[in-house]
């Protein structure tokens, strides 16, 4: 009996992504002005890397066509948790320069705890505030690094 061949989806996605990346690298290299001597120019390495990416991508795509019964199981993933953390990171980065380090980091902390199944939001916020506060005092005041200061919290901690 013939075995049923199907695409192993993660491998197919990986291989195709590499081929696409190869295209991006190659086209950006093609846009560079031509220098004297191809090998020593700024174009040679990008083309080399693009060729490598395309070859490896094609090898992986070819290998993605596998007999169904010998495929490695695709791990189950909780997309909601990923989305929550990704959103938490974006929120931190947007809030950082306006609200300051402590509130922004607390938002990320609460979002990430939630993504890992912690449901007591007030407790997350409390711990997040404490951690962000300790880090602010340690790094900003202790080590002299510049963390963003907002109008809400950090001023209370500023010694001067």
């Amino acid at each position: 009996m013939r075995r049923a061949y199907t695409w192993h989806r993660p491998d197919l996605a990986l291989g195709s992504a590499l081929v696409v990346l190869a295209g991006v690298v190659a086209s950006s290299a093609a846009a560079l002005p031509r220098g004297a001597g191809f090998f020593a120019s700024a174009q040679f390495f990008p083309y080399l890397i693009a060729t490598g990416l395309a070859l490896v991508g094609l090898v992986i795509v070819r290998g993605a066509r596998q007999p169904e019964d010998s495929q490695e199981a695709v791990p189950r993933l909780d997309g909601w948790a990923v989305l929550l953390i990704a959103a938490g990171l974006v929120a931190e980065l947007v809030l950082l320069d306006t609200l300051g380090w402590i509130p922004a980091a607390t938002v990320l902390f609460a979002a990430a705890s939630r993504a890992f199944g912690e449901r007591r939001l007030w407790l997350d916020i409390l711990i997040g505030l404490a951690l962000a506060g300790v880090l602010f005092v340690g790094f900003d005041q202790g080590l002299g690094l510049d963390l963003p200061v907002g109008s809400l919290v950090e001023n209370w901690l500023d010694a001067d």
């Binding site: 990008p46 490695e72 953390i85 990171l89």
Partner: protein, 507 residues
């Protein structure tokens, strides 16, 4: 020989001052504490702790790094043994029998043989490093751009064919790293490459941002996506905390044999700490009177690989210091740290900054002693860190990662890049692509290109220079053989069992 000893004693004169000792002690403590947290391997530990050193003078910063580096290795083995989540590829083997010992209530003995073995191996290997590094420097002086380029190509091929589940995935990771390395202004011509018109991208992408993004953000996203479907087991330490006479008798030879395997392999440009741990495991199993215990909690299977791992870690520093050639993810981040201080490892560093190089090497000896004192009595304290509830632990890792990334250049652009790389890391984790080659590719790619073009300038554009120089030709031949021979071998033998588990730590 005498010169080396004199240089080393000067190094100790720097490293033994109370101020230096303080930074060393702080480094090993932080390194162990962060390294012990599940999901944080040594590379990430060093990357996350970079900001702590920003205000330090470079000599003390690297004394502290030495402590963090060794401390993270110790911390990593604790996690591997008690939690069965190896933080890096070098402790995968430790996790097998170490965790089996922990299940049998012998976790304390596993930790002890790992700690003492790491001390023995670390000390012998650091001594070896002391004498090998100057010899390598002498070799490095004979290297021109063509030879450097060939050496880097060799490092690329060994890193990709040694890490991970398959050669194609290793190359995929390396090439992604090389492509990311292209981003920014071309060093020779000043032309922007892959910047898509963005001014922020002209400076290129920082190795530390890539490492934190792949290791911390990508890994945390993956764990978040998987946590509903998996559970982990922690085993408390109980009973006697000390090794019995039999434990000692069964441990000391594996320690020494592990060291003998680990250092030379770590010191080769082929490098890495993963291979020697596998070799040590296989060797101990063959020599053991109880091979049937292997895989079920044999102390030799913890002692040998753990010693091999730590010896390799010291070995990796030899090509890093002498050639500026990183052969592991941690070494890549150390190189980034050097660059942050405007330093380039290599013969000139030994010439111009002897107090830094030798102070750092001397502090490796000191770090080992400090770690032994810190780890044997305090293993119980580190274990407590494993009990932090997972949501808060990972949320905290994310917060600290963004802190480290932001403070790199004090702007939010790096956080945008971090976010994107985090998603890339998640994708690589799902598709079983190893992360380390990508990081080495990013930092080594631009250097390799620079040497390549420099060699062509010297040869007036004649590309045959790489094959007419004997050292360069030899290194390139070796690189080609390393890729071709295993492929031919695989074609002749039937498909081996998949080793996907080795691609990345399993949580």
């Amino acid at each position: 020989m005498l010169e080396t000893l004199a240089a080393l004693s000067n190094g100790f004169a720097v490293a033994l001052t109370p101020y230096a000792l303080m930074w060393s002690a702080l480094g090993v403590t932080l390194g162990t504490a962060i390294g012990v947290l599940p999901g944080i391997g040594p590379a990430l530990t060093v990357a996350l702790l970079l900001p702590v050193t920003y205000q330090l003078d470079s000599t003390y910063a690297f004394i502290m790094f030495a402590g963090i580096y060794y401390g993270a290795m110790y911390g990593g083995s604790t996690t591997a043994i008690l939690l069965n989540t190896p933080g890096e590829s070098g402790s995968i083997i430790t996790a097998v029998d170490g965790h089996a010992m922990a299940r049998q209530g012998r976790g304390a003995q596993a930790l002890a043989t790992a700690a003492i073995g790491s001390f023995v191996a670390g000390t012998i290997a650091t001594a070896a490093l002391t004498f090998v590094a100057p010899l390598m420097v002498r070799l490095a002086l004979m290297f021109g751009p063509a030879e450097y380029f060939a050496l880097m190509v060799l490092a690329f091929t060994t890193i990709t064919s040694l890490f991970g589940s398959s050669v194609s995935r290793g190359f995929a990771s390396l090439l992604i790293g090389l492509a990311i390395g292209l981003v920014g202004l071309d060093l020779q011509t000043g032309q922007p490459r892959l910047t898509f018109g963005s001014i922020e991208l002209m400076d290129g992408i920082d190795t530390v941002v890539l490492a934190v993004g792949l290791f911390a953000i990508g890994e945390t996203l993956y764990l978040a996506a998987r946590h509903r479907f998996e559970r982990e087991e922690i085993y408390a330490l109980k009973g006697s905390l000390w090794m019995s006479r039999e434990d000692w008798a069964r441990s000391w030879k594996p320690w020494l044999r592990g060291t003998l395997l680990g250092f030379p392999i770590g010191a080769m440009p082929a490098g890495g700490s993963e291979i020697p741990t596998f070799m040590s495991y296989a060797l101990e199993k063959r020599l053991s009177k109880h091979p049937e215990q292997f895989g079920h909690g044999a102390i030799e299977a913890v002692a040998g690989p753990e010693a091999a791992n730590n010896a390799a870690v010291a070995g990796v520093l030899a090509p890093l210091l002498a050639f500026g050639l990183p052969t592991s993810a941690v070494a890549a981040i150390m190189l980034a740290a050097f660059q942050q201080y405007g330093l380039q490892p290599g013969p000139l560093l030994f010439e111009n900054n002897p107090q830094l190089v030798w102070g750092m090497i001397a502090s490796l000896y000191i770090a080992n002693v400090l770690l032994l004192m810190l780890n044997l009595p305090m293993a119980g304290v580190w274990v407590k860190l494993l009990l932090i509830p997972r949501p808060w632990l990972y949320a905290g890792i994310l917060v600290i990662s963004t802190l480290g990334t932001y403070t790199l250049n004090n702007n939010a652009t790096d956080l945008v890049i971090l976010w994107a790389i985090g998603l890339l890391g998640l994708g690589m984790r799902i598709t079983n692509v190893p992360v380390a080659p990508c990081i080495v590719g990013l930092i080594l790619g631009p250097l390799a290109e620079q040497q390549f073009r420099r060699a062509l300038v010297i040869s007036q554009g004649d590309p045959s220079v790489f094959l007419t120089h004997p050292i360069s030709a030899g290194l390139l031949t070796l690189a080609v053989l390393l890729v071709v021979l295993p492929a031919l071998h695989r074609r002749r033998t039937p498909k081996a069992a998949p080793t996907a588990a080795l691609a990345a730590p399993e949580a």
